[in-house]
């Protein structure tokens, strides 16, 4: 049931002129978490101010706060939680409601002029909790070399290091309901008890993904935020413009509108865009009434360097010829250390290459998970798997495995987001076109990575690996991970990026960006854990700046 967005003829008492609302503690104590989702009642009237309805605001009013966050996904909610804990006054704006709403989701529609194996409104979700309402919970931190300049990856290098993020990864673990920050594969293997694949030449290694339950941020943290006396959440509040001060160095306000036509402003000491890697760009480019290039875009980098994690399902297949315990590489549960005790978590091993090999061979990073599959004739080109299996002399057996490869993509400026001024949404904002490009060298790069992996699997006695030789098939079967990275990249040099090491826009001193848009490179891991870690780091920075 869709939550009603309009009170039935009554005005909410929590207008901009009212004092900060006190919570209806008594009623809330009897309301179980999640029970109110989808109930078509007006929150403000019946339950006090847990979550506020933007449509109830007096049009033209101005809210004030220490920090205004636009976007209540993983980044926005993590940021709001930590800023609240630090004692700052926070306004959190969310375009959607507490559940899916077609007219709100439709605001995400746009076009894809490049690789179009997905749709813009099908891999991101516009409701309180954002895409965490759908994510599968894959977690892994970035590697230390992901932050370094790598000679074979132009535009690589972050202005921060892994060590800068580790304290915040530990915090992020709590947010996504993982146990202690433990990622050593040998330690995890000891807890699992299942063997690792041996790498005779040392080129191949095993990495581990840990799975969040997955944490639905909107459900898990709604009450915490709603109960916080210093947090106001406004649902159905769409950021439509970023207004600059007269000297262009700061934002003066966020301009916000609802689909029902209520418009209001938020003035804050600091502003954070946490709308996602595509929508953040859209708002910056669309806020062009003062500067034609939009806000924070003197470098011209806003919207460029869009990266995904291309997912290649089935482009590599392994003909296995002997019984091998690959149980570590299937999703299974392990008792992981968590504080004073343990926590049962799902983990899964994946195959990858050693960083020295990646560097010496000039190969982008990737992870490959293995799943058993039945391979029929013709699925591997002209030479069938059965013929190749005949070559393999070790042991007996006829199993086959499919590799699911998640690859790093090299950053390139022409993989980009632009506005379509002639196509506007219901709020009057221009829609976007995403021209997602994967460099042809990345295809060759991946194939070389698969060759090396195949050599190592063969050396380990695990059979022979096949990878599609068809470059078009490789690129045009690349499915997205829903990871929208790089479009507002971090750099110490204002000419090379949009934000600095603290995620502050170079051009606008009180505007910050949260989320994977700031990633200069994508690495191989899923971004959510790093997104939350960066949000925690930003919260610490803002708490210090605004203290």
């Amino acid at each position: 049931m869709i939550l009603s967005r309009r009170p039935s003829g009554k005005t909410c008492k929590h207008s901009a002129d009212a004092p900060a609302p006190r919570k209806a503690e008594g009623l809330r104590a009897f309301v179980p978490r999640g029970a109110l989702a989808g109930v078509g009642w007006d929150w403000c009237k019946c339950f006090g101010c847990m979550l506020l309805e933007a449509n109830d605001l007096i049009p033209g009013s101005t809210l004030t706060a220490d920090v205004c966050i636009a976007g209540a996904g993983a980044a926005g909610i993590a940021l709001a939680l930590s800023l609240s804990e630090a004692g700052l006054d926070v306004v959190l704006l969310e375009s959607g409601g507490l559940s899916d709403e077609p007219e709100t989701q439709a605001l995400y529609q746009g076009t894809m002029s490049g690789i179009n194996t997905w749709k813009l409104d099908a891999h991101r979700w516009r409701l309180f909790g954002g895409s965490t309402s759908r994510w599968a919970g894959w977690c892994r931190p970035m590697e230390s070399y992901d932050f370094e300049i790598r000679a074979h990856i132009p535009e690589s290098g972050w202005p921060i290091t892994l060590n800068d993020l580790i304290p915040y990864y530990q915090r992020a673990h709590q947010r996504v309901e993982l146990g202690d920050y433990l990622w050593d594969v040998d330690d995890i293997q000891a807890l699992s008890g299942r063997p690792l694949v041996h790498s005779p030449s040392g080129r191949m290694l095993t990495r581990v993904f840990q799975y969040s339950p997955p944490t639905r941020f909107g459900e898990l943290y709604r009450n915490t935020l709603a109960d916080a006396p210093n947090v106001r959440i406004y649902l159905h509040a769409n950021l439509v413009n970023l207004e600059l001060t007269s000297n262009l160095s700061k934002l003066s306000r966020f301009e916000v509108a609802t689909l029902d036509g209520v418009q209001f402003n938020v003035e804050a000491s600091a502003y954070v865009l946490a709308l996602g890697g595509i929508e953040n760009v859209r708002l910056l480019l669309a806020s062009n009434s003062t500067l034609a290039a939009g806000v924070a875009n003197s470098s011209g980098n806003v919207g460029q360097f869009f990266m995904e994690h291309p997912h290649y399902n089935g482009v590599s297949k392994l003909a296995l010829s002997q019984a091998t315990d690959l149980g570590f590489y299937r999703r299974h549960s392990v008792e992981m250390p968590a504080g004073e005790g343990t926590q049962r978590l799902n983990i899964m091993g994946v195959l990858a290459l050693e960083p020295e090999v990646l560097a010496s061979e000039g190969v982008l990073d990737f992870t490959a998970s293995i799943s058993e599959v039945a391979l029929g004739p013709g699925e591997t080109g002209d030479i069938d798997v059965d013929r190749v299996r005949s070559l393999v002399r070790e042991g007996e057996g006829d199993r086959a495995y499919q590799l699911y490869v998640r690859a790093e993509q090299s950053p390139r400026p022409d993989s980009r987001i632009v506005l379509r001024e002639s196509d506007r949404d219901a709020l009057g904002l221009p829609r976007v076109d995403l021209d997602w490009k994967i460099h042809p060298d990345d295809d060759q790069n991946l194939r070389r990575g698969m060759e090396i992996l195949g050599a190592e699997l063969a050396a380990a006695g695990l059979g022979r690996l096949w990878t599609s030789a068809d470059a078009d098939r490789l690129r045009w079967t690349a499915l997205p991970g829903g990871h929208h990275m790089g479009t507002l990249r971090m750099s110490a040099d204002p000419e090379m990026g949009v934000v600095d090491a603290n995620c502050r826009c170079h051009d606008v001193e009180n505007l910050y960006i949260a989320g994977s848009a700031v990633f200069p490179t994508g690495g191989a891991p899923n971004p959510t854990l790093t997104v939350v870690a960066l949000a925690e780091r930003l919260a610490a920075h803002l708490a210090k700046e605004l203290a």
Partner: protein, 148 residues
């Protein structure tokens, strides 16, 4: 049958005989002694013919899988645009390995090929064959199988 072809056939028979009885025990000295009856005006160590390798290939791949090896080798040679001579020439390294072990048992020869193949993978002496990552030694053996 001409005298030269008779000698070649005798040499072939000799070699197979040596393999069948040596059991890995034949010394280098014994091998060199067996050459004494070769005519002096002929090359005492002519290169083996393609068909000479068939018994070893059958031992390596197994009789039932030899056909698969032939098909893979044929595919690879055709893809490379080789004629018979060029294909045979491409297998020089594995032939040298086998020839150097002519006095060893078949099992020892197979083991040596396995070891070389393992080294292929560990040192990235690999070949892309229709998308399959194969070791240099095994594709050379497949090409030999296709030619035998």
């Amino acid at each position: 049958m001409t005298s030269s072809s008779r000698i070649k056939r005798q040499r072939l028979v000799r070699r197979r005989f040596l393999r069948s009885v040596s059991g890995g025990l034949l010394s280098v000295g014994a091998l060199s002694c067996s050459d004494e009856w070769v005519r002096a005006d002929e090359d005492p160590h002519p290169p083996p013919a393609r068909e000479d390798y068939e018994p070893l290939l059958a031992a390596y791949f197994g009789d039932s899988d030899l056909e698969a090896a032939r098909l893979i080798g044929s595919y690879y040679a055709t893809s490379a645009g080789w004629n018979v001579e060029a294909a045979f020439a491409s297998t020089a390294k594995v032939r040298h390995l086998v020839d150097d072990l002519a006095s060893a048992s078949e099992a020892a020869q197979v083991e040596a090929l396995d070891m070389r193949l393992q080294q292929d993978f560990e040192t990235l002496r690999i070949v892309d064959v229709d998308g399959w990552t194969l070791g240099q030694t095994e594709i050379d053996l497949c090409v030999l199988a296709a030619l035998a």
